[in-house]
Symmetry: C2
Subunit: 335 residues, 2 copies
């Protein structure tokens, strides 16, 4: 059995920078046609100059692959129309982090007063720049995302022309909000389609399954799976693949992030097949995103085969999700 995916897109990707970029960029560029590149590097990407220079480093690191890095800025309240129109052609989205909520988000937003957000969000509405949000409050870890839903709704109502992407959603509450506002969209990771909090802390503690937002309950995971495999048109794949060196994952204070970029497509094929919905993977992995973002990534066909594939124990210094485990699909050819 084989499956051909056309122009797979990863609508939420962390490539990092420096040495690690030389491991991550070729891996994503190999099996994806394009990806939204998150801007929470050190320092974060907050200027045209920084964005172009980061894009150049990605292009150099990814080798000869046919891949489109879709660049983003780290949201700031002082972005105005003039600044954004000047960078528009290079920009695919802007990512908003609540302050301190995840890796390198210290410079994020610490309040959601509509008045204080008007200048950048009205400019983005006019220029058609989507706003990607890491939607968590600083409340109790299992409640943070559900507590953020009213903020999503407030923003969606106040800026009806702004496309707001609820990033890496993990709860049924977020899914319900999607359908209440026309201008809300969502990405879902592959790991949140597969694991729950039980996989992270229910048996042994699994640092390589630790991420933000944390995986939730079975009923949340099941609701996400239903949206994905049934091709909810406002839902896109975004891996949130977030590499850290092994030493930052197996230690007294481990960083949040799961590395899935090179194995996401086989894992998704396995999941969609298990639900008898292989035909719907094309929408989740590319078509919905093309429509929502209005993008035309380079043509790429990824051929997956149903053959046993053992996930590598590491990619350089990075341990992937399910390292060493064997799954039932593999990437057979990319053309």
């Amino acid at each position: 059995m084989q499956l051909i995916l056309n122009d797979p897109l990863d609508m939420h990707l962390h490539l990092r920078d420096g040495e690690m970029l030389h491991t991550t960029a070729p891996l994503s560029a190999h099996s994806f046609s394009g990806a939204i590149i998150m801007p929470n590097t050190i320092p974060p990407i907050q200027s045209k100059e920084a964005l172009l220079s980061y894009k150049q480093r990605i292009l150099e690191a990814m080798g000869s692959e046919n891949f489109m890095p879709l660049m983003t800025l780290f949201f700031r309240r002082d972005y105005d129309y003039e600044f954004l129109s000047n960078i528009r052609d290079e920009l695919s989205a802007i990512k908003l982090y609540p302050a301190g909520i995840t890796t390198n988000s210290e410079g994020g937003v610490s309040g959601f007063d509509i008045e204080k957000l008007k200048t950048p969000l009205e400019a983005m509405s006019e220029l058609g720049i989507p706003l990607c949000i890491h939607g968590e409050t600083n409340g109790f870890v299992m409640d943070r995302e559900a507590e953020f839903v009213p903020i999503y709704e407030k923003l969606a109502a106040a800026f009806p022309k702004l496309k707001i992407i609820m990033e890496h959603i993990t709860t049924k509450e977020s899914l319900q909000a999607l359908d209440r506002y026309e201008n809300l969209y969502a990405t879902i990771t592959v790991h949140h389609l597969l694991i729950t909090l039980d996989d992270v802390v229910g048996g042994m503690l699994r640092p390589h399954l630790f991420c933000k937002p944390i995986a939730k309950r079975g009923e949340d995971r099941d609701a996400l799976v239903q949206a994905a495999v049934n091709a909810h048109p406002k839902v896109m794949f975004g891996s949130d693949s977030a590499p850290h060196p092994k030493s930052a994952k197996e230690c007294p204070g481990c960083a949040a992030g799961i590395f899935t970029a090179p194995i996401a497509l086989p894992l998704l094929a396995e999941l969609f097949e298990a639900h008898g919905k292989l035909d719907n993977l094309q929408g989740f992995i590319s078509d919905h995103a093309k429509k929502i973002y209005g993008i035309k990534p380079p043509k790429k066909s990824v051929i997956l085969k149903k053959e046993p594939f053992t996930i590598p124990k590491n990619y350089g210094d990075i341990v992937p999700m399910h390292a060493g485990e064997t799954i039932s699909w593999k990437i057979s050819q990319v053309q």
Copy 2:
């Protein structure tokens, strides 16, 4: 400021065996007068011979300290009156683990059919042997303890003369059950009085704060604190101090257990003082347990002083809770 604690007791302690015992036994024996020694060694303690031999190893390892190891058996359904009456004088309690629920519990109980538990539990009732239970189902990690409450209640109702100790409780549901049945009692750890799930997975992932049962919500922690600092007479201190070598805590699949034995008394003094309830620590740390278990441990006075104390980064190969952090009380003298 100083505080004298008389005959402190740790009513739930894992000393392990072999090499590690030489680190753990002297540390607990130094600041406690006695401790309930959990039997989930490899292999578990299930015979008089194994119990006496383990006790001997503990006595040898603990050095010249004045300390009473209160020995327990690993529960089995085939323990009968004859077996138990023969071991009664050496036995302080029997510990029941649901199968597979925590470290070395594979041989535990996999059902709570009253008929199948009658032989050992009636014998224990007659012989006055308390039953200590790790009360978790194999459900979702945040629900396991609350789901087990009906089993506690079923056992308490079916065996009204049996003293049942709800071990290391972490939820308000368990506290509520305590007051519904005369023969239910509970231990609480120091870590469950201090942390919530947020401390384990809410920021960085903290493997040295990972334990079973997992720390729960703030409202649960607060309810436990109220019971402890207000000297609930059915509530005893049990550290559940559960050492693992550092290599088993900082790795891809980390073992459950927090090591607190040598720092529990200063941590408790700090907590009880913060609540203006220092006077109630004597009950929580010793008096309630003496009465519930009917035991007379060796006389020991532990003098704590309010002075800064930096928790060691390690005790041998074991990393304690809050390693390297400075707290406001220390053990000044033991006599």
